[in-house]
Chain length 112, copies 2
DNA sequence: GTCCATATGTAGCGGTCCTACTTATGAACT
DNA sequence: AGTTCATAAGTAGGACCGCTACATATGGAC
């Protein structure tokens, strides 16, 4: 998976990874890896700055804790984050439909 | 449609627009607009440089002509372009499956 | 005679992800 | 005791790529 394709879609993925409950950055990374069967293996240099952006935007809220001697920054979806996530999901469906239409001539495989 | 999302996918769209036959830049633009029901309306500053890139990469071949007093640069898919297109289509399906998996927990709506 | 659709093009901006590197702890293995 | 690896977080700088804004030119409509 060429990761440059990800441009613009990363935020949605991170928000989605936090939907089921609070997670720290490293755990978000692993959650994405697992939910995609290892196909999406993002480097820390992508994850952490992106989480900082989302926090600055008020979509997630972070708090420090120490577990087993290691400091962790744990993130939770804010109310705004939850709304943003559903917006991003809708955006993704629209986007995928448009690209599929242009590429295949049909909105989805086995639809319509 | 926020167009930044397009990053990395544009080449595939342009190649697809040329699959059914030769077209000049302006026509490619219109073909994409029509094949997506007007949802994908790319500016000329996006189309032309991208076509130049594809030509430089040997995926399309361009030639000048004059029709009705207006000069046109008409592009055709090369053999390499045809192969690239099918690769890009496969990439798109993989990419869409991965993002859908991470976003929705399922590869496609109403699949599997 | 002006305006719009057609037709092509470039320069530079901005956003965003990646590469490469740094720091730190705990556990395992030798 | 020392090395190595997984865990955990971070930054700086670069590269890529589509967009905005602008420039140029013709033909037809009004």
């Amino acid at each position: 998976m060429k990761a440059e394709l990800l441009k613009g879609h990363l935020d949605a993925l991170l928000l989605a990874a936090l939907e089921s409950g609070p997670r720290h950055g490293y755990a978000v990374m692993e959650a994405l890896r697992e939910s995609t069967g290892g196909q999406l293996d993002l480097p820390t240099g992508t994850i952490y700055p992106a989480l900082h952006r989302l926090e600055a935007a008020g979509l997630i809220a972070g708090s420090w804790s120490v577990v087993g001697g290691r400091r962790r920054r744990c993130y939770v979806l804010t109310e705004a984050g939850r709304k943003a996530l559903s917006g991003r999901r809708a955006d993704w469906r629209d986007f995928a439909a448009v690209i599929s239409a242009a590429l295949e001539g049909a909105p989805w495989p086995s639809t319509a």
